[in-house]
Subunit: 406 residues, 4 copies
């Protein structure tokens, strides 16, 4: 087999904000032999995952599963609902919002990109009032959809989707609400139905703890109605045939069988822990991470505590420090992968992922690796970040301390 | 873990014409932990598979790997090269050719469907002379592409692609040649460069012995030039950015990492056996299968011996027999999956896959299971098919018989 | 990784009478990370397997699990119950009975080897009347134990253990009854308590479908009482400390953790199928195998139909044929492993295993491989064996034939 | 599958001094299908591991591999070389030395137990001068063997075996030298030939990073000569037949095939890293661990820096603290397993394993978990241990710091 680990011993720490570490249990499930995707066993598998994934999106409506990575699900959301030249209101929260907008342009849509000026927009969540104002101004209802990113992976900001919904409603505007929660799903609380989202886009390789390769569209009735009128060419991404065949647990074309095995296992793991407990764990780890960053005296990319991401934390470098050189040093010396700065933030920050199959000790190892790497790279730190992180984690322990003294 | 095998003991025989059985060795390779798709180890993996896959397509030109199943690669071939309303000459070899044509319509193209009348077209290969005549008649060069299926999975017919190339050349027509060899690649001889194919479409779950989930476009310079002019909306499927980033072994968006591990292993396995030996093995097994079918007194779906598929054999049922009932009986009693009749052949035939990780004894088990199932289903058989199949396999043995007598 | 398969493609057919093919499901279970053998999770695992294995032995008494292969469990049975110079009555059913006797000698015991003369003893089961006579003659009760092999792996003979028990009882003799069912357990019906066996020896790599590496002693109260008086030196094999610690699911020294994972999975699989159904399946496959051998016109090693083994069938070669040359040819040409002739039968027969994770089609593939190999080796066969085997398997199907005709 | 992880998410930290964490790469190798242990592929495997394991023991002489756990290899060393009533000089370094002595008694030997008085002997290495004096006093050469533990797993002390050799030589005594390096092999430097060891005992589940289940005797010519005269009963453990059959890569009875796959992979991994680099890594991690313990103000069990173990560190609790309650708290809150205090040290200390597949960040996570657990358990700590551990690890980095500033 191809040698794939350049470090001689010990486990690699994969602390990028996705793909997140895939638990052994899921890798084992995925190694079940591929079966006939038209046979009765497959139908049982299909119904199992199609039902279970709805609970993760908190929806009663169909969730379409694509044998494609997350970028494909972005495209699916657009081509199913829109027509060439349609105006789309998108919001610039960071690099991934920008890529989605670029895709909209490639597909012949007319995205309008709202956002705070300069780097400021990449430090805060979606400003729902800006959306409301813009929609109110669109009295002709030229805007067909509002597209926002829930958890912006490039910055570590988790926007308030319920507020966006309220903004659209307040403006009395009929635009569809489309949300990318590729990196938020199953890590940050998300409510497709309650928040009135029309299309939610997500992927497998983040909170679901799977390898990349499957992706999702959760679809409202309003979105399905829009798809009847939408004229962008579509075939592979078309919802109708998939949703139709999904009723018996099958797909119109060959699905990604082994990743569906993994999804079944992932859903089982999440339900064993409890989805709310999963969210609480992410919040606990994220806060521990931020306390360490603050103790180091470094700046957190997200400037608004109300929208700190439970999934990842962006750490800004002092002037004159190349964040990617720090990452490289940490990779080479300590066998840990961190997320690079993307787009406007290239070289200025790195990102610590604390999502998915992560626990207290893994996070502390991650912080120790960052701290050693920063020091070796000559970044001046105010103090060690570990004491504050550890104090928080100890304090957060729910259980009554065990009796240990005689 | 979800229970996925309804039979209590023994190995399931997955003898559909794909997904084909995934060797343990590939399943093990796929269980390597997911890594950072932006890290140095990934780059090494990417270069390894991008280089190796070219040898399978027999091309020096780029092969684009999509994190999507084969249907997606069909769409990619069309949207990269064509514009709304373009005329496309497609050839009806069977169900998959029909589905590809349906996709072309969905995407706003104008496919013209050539073929022999009725069921006859589903029993023979592409008639290159019909293509030549049609192209000669197209003096305005309205036809932008000729699309044919190399190995038609629904019938077990492997068309002569070199002949199609000659036909296009003889007509002096500039149309692109696009070929689907989803189920032929790495089982039947295929030569992207030598045959002058512009876009070859393939997938992972057949001769490459992988689970479904990645697919391919091998792309000629002429096709890339066409893509500069083509105006169908595209983003996820766009070749340029992928080919550009592939130079260093990376992808513009998240690739299907664990399937790429599997692909690296698959390429290693194929090169260990030798690609020509792989082809010869498929031919040997296919002939054994056909000899059994003939001994049973049943008809082979492919009516032209020159284009028998080395990948699968379609077995036609006598009138009054529901092929799917036979398949169900075989599945339930003997734990073997066979391919169903598709489209025009629904209920009239079943398909035996003998591709990928298959050897003599597995094929004989398969034939034994078919024979018992046919008899239990009341299908009158002329004789047992095993003696002829075994005789052929014994005769085909290259090695000098070992001395065993004293 | 070390390359371990000399054949380029397709699945190897491992049709030796053990180690039997390990189902993927068990291999996956065994790949769970090794845990602390003193931690709470291990205790749960230990109790699970210690409880479950009793159901397989059909006993309420302790079953000791050793982190050692089956030969070790033979030694354990002897050193726990006997003292230097003790007389032991052993019965020669074949090669493994002979090896056990040789071990008894090495350990300083005085085995007396009963049996039918010459090769005849290797073709029939234990003659209980011979045991009864011998014990009646031992009026001083010098004989401390009677040792017999239940399923003799070298010949394919499954002796009647209940008859041996009755013989001992009829003789009114106090000797312990010790039985080796290493290759019988979980394939052939076995009843430790009902048959009054004092020590049953078994191993993992046969009916339990595990890799080799753990082995068993099921122990009666009488055996435990004998162990208090027995003086052969023992430490690793000593029952008492193990049985004592097993009450909480632990072992006094490091157990073979990953094989215990496999055992837990094996027990789950057997209970899903139902132990009696497992036995019936073995009987069905064994009969199919014998019908093929008879059709070939070859002799079955076991000469007494009452004691045909459900686990394996010994196939005798005509004079002048070297059975191992046939096996080598089959291995090289058809990628199938068969059992060699052992001891007195070296070169004169080969053994077909049809145990553990085996089903109808696998058996038919096995028979086809044997038949082709025999023919290529120049062995004259009366006829093909497959029709009779297939006819039997079709006839044995319980289900009502499905309706297939219109 | 049996649920085996009581914690809902994240990777368990298995920081006991063995079984050590099994790398994924080895678990994958072990999931290769079990093969015929009499077939040609097995012979290649056998020769591969039998050759490779010699390099780890640093010997040119035979290394016997048992399909049994380490305790069995202790027994093998004794029963192959000694006779009932033989005097054996053993040295009390801790719990495992005590268990080996207990075994010697069970087997009918007459062990004499040398050592420093009380707990002091459990804090220091073997005192070679005591052995020399004792042997000088044995002018009749009644003592047949000297048995010492190289790396005492219960205390974290690695004795100087070369010094023991010199002591025996200085005394001019013919006793065999038998050494247990079950937990030292492949973590601490060991030289079977250079140190003149007669029997070295080891196991799989420590530095070799395998699950438990195979164990070793490296055997000198002198030991083999002794085995000709030794009269303790033996069969399963007998060296001669195994060494004889090993010449072609086979074993006289069924070997533990899947663990041998793992061993082949382990040897490959160790040679990739380089055995000396493996030792250096263990020393680096061990020193980091000790620096943390000192910073906490807690006592290290090993009182002599010259014999600190590179494998594990024993951490002594202040009076009134139950070490096992601390361990339990750490297990429950932080999903980490630590080693318990054994024998005389029960409840008074815990043991941190830093062996095998361990790297800097895993060790720091381990230390963080210990520190939080100690604090939550109310153990007063002088200061955090992490800064000193991190400073050492940063300092130990060989590479020139990367340039990061602009």
């Amino acid at each position: 087999m191809l040698k794939l680990d350049f470090h001689p011993s010990g486990r690699h720490f994969l602390q990028i904000p996705g793909p997140s570490p895939v638990p052994d249990r899921i890798l084992r499930a995925m190694s079940y032999p591929t079966i006939d995707h038209r046979g009765p066993e497959f139908g049982a598998l299909g119904l199992n995952v199609l039902d279970g994934i709805k609970r993760i999106f908190k929806t009663q409506q169909p969730v379409v599963i694509y044998p494609a990575s997350g970028t494909g699900a972005w495209e699916a959301a657009l081509v199913n609902t829109l027509s060439a030249g349609d105006a789309v209101l998108m919001y610039e929260t960071g690099h991934f919002a920008t890529l989605w907008k670029k895709m909209a342009e490639s597909l012949g849509l007319k995205p309008e990109f709202l956002g705070l000026p300069g780097i400021e927009g990449w430090r805060r969540g979606v400003q729902a009032d800006m959306i409301e104002s813009r929609l109110r101004a669109d009295s002709q209802h030229a805007i067909k959809a509002v597209c926002v990113v829930h958890n912006e992976t490039s910055t570590g900001v988790t926007s308030d989707i319920a507020a966006v919904r309220r903004a659209i409603d307040a403006a009395g505007h009929p635009a569809l609400l489309m949300v990318d929660t590729i990196s938020g799903l199953a890590s940050a609380d998300y409510r497709h139905d309650e928040w009135g989202v029309d299309v939610t886009v997500s992927g497998s390789q983040k909170g679901l703890m799977l390898p990349p390769g499957i992706s999702f569209n959760a679809v409202s009735e309003k979105a399905r109605a829009a798809s009847k009128r939408a004229t962008l060419p579509r075939s592979f991404w078309g919802w109708d045939e998939i949703i139709d065949m999904n009723r018996n647990g099958y797909w119109p074309y060959t699905p990604n069988t082994n990743l569906l095995y993994g999804l079944a296992e992932s859903l089982e793991m999440i339900e064993e822990e409890g989805l709310d407990n999963v969210f609480a764990r992410h919040q606990r780890l994220a806060e521990a991470c931020r306390r360490a960053v603050r103790a180091w005296g470094l700046e957190i990319q997200c400037a608004d505590p109300a929208v700190y991401s439970p999934v990842l934390t962006g750490v800004t470098m002092p002037d004159g420090i190349d964040a990617d050189a720090v990452r490289k040093l940490i990779y080479e010396r300590f066998d840990m992968s961190l997320g690079t700065g993307l787009g406007k933030l290239k070289g200025r920050m790195f990102r610590i992922g604390h999502l998915g199959d992560c626990n207290d000790l893994t996070l502390l190892a991650t912080l120790a690796g960052c701290e050693m790497g920063l020091r070796l790279a000559g970044v001046p730190l105010a103090s060690s970040g570990l004491p504050d992180a550890m104090a928080w984690l100890m304090e957060q322990s729910n259980d009554t301390p065990l009796k240990v003294a005689a």
